[in-house]
Symmetry: C2
Subunit: 253 residues, 2 copies
DNA sequence: ATTCGATACCTGTCTAGACAGCTATGGAGA
DNA sequence: TCTCCATAGCTGTCTAGACAGGTATCGAAT
């Protein structure tokens, strides 16, 4: 068990976080390895001098981070890193849109009859109309993403100008739902630039690219917005970590 | 507040899950919308007839699912769905490898001097040797992913045959770490098939494809394995949901 | 009109104890 | 030798209460 740094009650870091950090450090140090059983919760209580709920909170934290797992009636064990357990997020896209140096240029914004594909995606008939918006996101003057979006056109609720600009896009990424969306389905895909897309992005056609397709629904579960971002593959960073790296542990939740 | 289905103490579903499900349903129904304040924890205690820790557990569940957020001193609020908050996982790759109908064919497995690129990735000098393994994953007889991997060659620990087969790959995806990995860094990329890759996958060169690059480290933080999966873009499903869809809510965690 | 402090309400954290259900072990009985 | 059961230890869950610290409000004093 080796020596143990006790809980610092005067620290700003609450006891449960200190316990979690302590356990994490021991795993990083290799004191406990994949498959090893950790001390039981009762033992950890005694070790750190905290109540069981506090220990459990620490263990729960590590469980959520994929560092350990528990088996009812058996104990808590160190989880082996798994490639298949990796998750990726759109943090880099978020950074791009949040960046003050990012600008959005409206290429097109008009009311059009929907193509068969858009009809299918938005579940509207070809007699109705949709709002087609095409944008180019630029970072430091350089075009980065091409975005096309189709909104169900509701004559009773005329779309305001603001719907087209940077704000709307920021809301989509960081605050959709105020716009009346209940939920959305997203799909990530690998593709290549068409000639049109390439021209807007100042690239060669055929260059490999990311596609982020999004479909948002309203509170009646009807699709209201379908669209896709496309941008050169190196414009979106999708990297992550499995297991317990030494630095940037991301603890303290 | 409307009528409320009370907690069923005889159910297999524990009270905290019932409370979470109840709150979730009210959000799905639109009773609470993005930005709305939910009843305070004390009110929820009275409403459901459970203790505050139980209510908090339910709220924590919803917070982790990105359904609500809390503000200290103010209350709990419904979170708006955000495109930028989406996360993607490798569930479809996992399914592929777990599938009994998936086979792995070793194309190559030998000890070679490393290329400059491999030298850099594995942090070894060009005097040392690495084990190069190239595999093709097939599902129902059809080639799906091409996998190349480079392992640091340690003469003291000769690699066993098992290291090359299906088991090794399954371990990489679902149980790495028993192999002595402490953690790994992954990167997802969009690319196109080279001529060699296309020939193994029975495809045309230039077809858009996924690349999953992985770099695993041992307990001394030295890289020990670098490799990449590549496969046609429609072979890997990266879709996800933001907000609270009606079905497949994924509650009960 | 402005500032400041008391106050009420909220979430964040911790405790000590209780019971349920699962798992492994070892001993008694067949 | 084998089977079965009691038991001990483990995680899972819940309770009732406590205190800390953040937030908004409203009234008193300036």
């Amino acid at each position: 068990m080796s020596k143990l740094r006790p809980i610092d009650r005067s620290s700003f870091e609450p006891p449960y976080a200190q316990v979690a950090r302590g356990m994490r450090e021991r795993i990083v140090n290799g004191e406990y390895r994949a498959g090893d059983r950790l001390p039981s919760e009762a033992e950890l209580c005694a070790l750190y001098g905290v109540s069981r709920m506090t220990v459990r909170r620490a263990v729960t934290l590590l469980t959520q981070d994929g560092v350990v797992y528990t088996e009812n009636g058996r104990g808590t064990f160190v989880r082996a890193p798994e490639l298949g357990a990796a998750t990726f997020d759109l943090a880099s896209l978020r950074r791009l849109v949040d960046d003050a140096a990012t600008t959005v240029k409206i290429i097109e914004a008009r009311i059009v009859p929907p193509s068969p594909r858009v009809c299918r995606k938005l579940a509207v008939d070809d007699e109705s109309y949709v709002v087609a918006i095409k944008r180019v996101l630029s970072s430091a003057g350089e075009p980065v993403f091409y975005h096309s979006e189709y909104l169900v056109f509701d004559p009773r609720r005329p779309l305001v100008e603001a719907e087209y600009g940077v704000t709307a896009l920021r809301d989509l990424l960081a605050n959709a739902g105020k716009s009346g969306f209940k939920y959305g389905r997203l799909r990530l895909d690998a593709s290549t630039l068409t000639e049109t897309e390439a021209s807007y992005l100042a690239e060669e056609p055929g260059v490999s690219a990311w596609v982020i397709e999004h479909l948002f629904y309203d509170f009646e579960n009807r699709p209201v917005s379908w669209g896709r971002f496309i941008g050169r593959s190196d414009r979106l960073d999708l990297s992550t970590t499995v297991g317990v790296p030494d630095v940037g542990n991301g603890a303290g939740g």
